[in-house]
Amino acid sequence: MSSSKAEPAGGHGHGHALPWYQAHHFDSMEVQNHAVRLGMWLFLGTEVLLFAGLFLGYTVYRWLYHQSFHEASRLLSLPLGTINTIILITSSFTVALGYHAIKVGKQKACVGYLAFTIACAGAFLVIKFFEYKHKFEVGELPGRFFTAYHDFSPLGAKGANLYYAIYFLATGLHAFHVIVGASILAWLMVRVHKGKYGPHHYVPVELGALYWHLVDLVWIFLFPLLYLI
C-alpha cells in the first residue's frame, strides 16, 4: 500500500512535486501500482492455499464417507444456500461497479455501491447465523457433539460428524473473511466519502474489491460442494 503519511507535496527534495499518495521510493504511480497489485495477488495466492487445505480435508472425508456427505448435504437448506450465493455474487458485482465509479471520478456513486456491498455482507451473515442456529438445535455438529443419528441412514450416520467438522470449519473461516472484507470496504467507504480517492488514486479501492471478490470465489466452490452433493 502507498505510504499513508501525508507529506506536503514537494517537501522531500526530489525536485518535483509528488502527490501525497505516492511513496517517494517509487519512480512513478505506475510503478507503485504495479508493486501494490503484485503484493495483493501474492496475498490472494496464500488465501487460495489456505482454503485449499480445507478443500483437501473435504476431498478425503467425502471419498471415505460419501454416503454420509450426500445425506448431510440434503439436510442443509438449499433455498437459504441459493439466496446466499445470489447475495454474494450480486455484492461482487456491485463492488466491481464501485471500483469503476471511483475510477471515473464518481465518488458519491462509489460510496453507494460500497454501502450496498456491505449490506449484502450483513444479509449473508444473518442468513448464515440462522443456518448455524438450526444445526446447533438439531445436534448436526462436529465430532463427539454430533447427536443427529436419526437424521441419517445406518450407513450414512458413521462419518456424518466429519461432514459437520468440514462444514463448520470451511463456512466459519469463510464467514470470518466476510466480516474482514466488509470491514475493509467500510473503511474504504469512509475514505471515499472524505474525498481521499479519485481517478488518479483508486488502487486502494481496487485492492479492497479484489479481497471481496476472493470471498465470493471461495463461496462459489463451497456452495455446490456442501449443499448440492
Binding site: 504511480m29 496464500t46 487460495v48 438449499l78 461482487s92 458485482f93 460428524n161 466452490f221
Partner: protein, 132 residues
Amino acid sequence: MAETTHKEAAHEDHGIGRYVLIWGILLAFTLLTVFTGRMDLGAANIFIALAIATTKATLVVLFFMHLWDTGGVNRLVFVVSVLFAIVLILGVFGDLTARYAPTLPNGGPLPPHSAAGAAEAVEHGMPPIPGH
C-alpha cells in the same frame, strides 16, 4: 505522469456493460447448478457441479478481478497458487486410494441404531440414544 494515465486508461476503458453481462451469466450458472445438483446423475453430479463452479470462478477472476486486462506477473502468481492447490489435492488423493484400509481415518463410532453400532457404543461408554 501523462504517459502513465494514458497507459492505465488504455488497459481497461470498458464501461459497466461487461460487469452487468458477467453478473447475469453468474446468476444463470447458479440456477443451473442448483437444477443439476438436484438431479440424480450418479457420479456425474460432482463433475458437473465442479465444472460449473470452475467456470463461474474463472469469469470472476478474469472480469471482476481484471486478470483479463492486467495479466503479466499477477496472472502468473495466481495461476501457480491454484496449480499448487490442485497438486496438493491430487497428491493426497493418490495416497488415499493406495492405502491399506486399516490405516484410513476412522469416521467415528458406528451409528448406535445399528446392532454393531449399539455394541460399540456400549463399549466406548457413549450415552444411550433416545428410543433405543
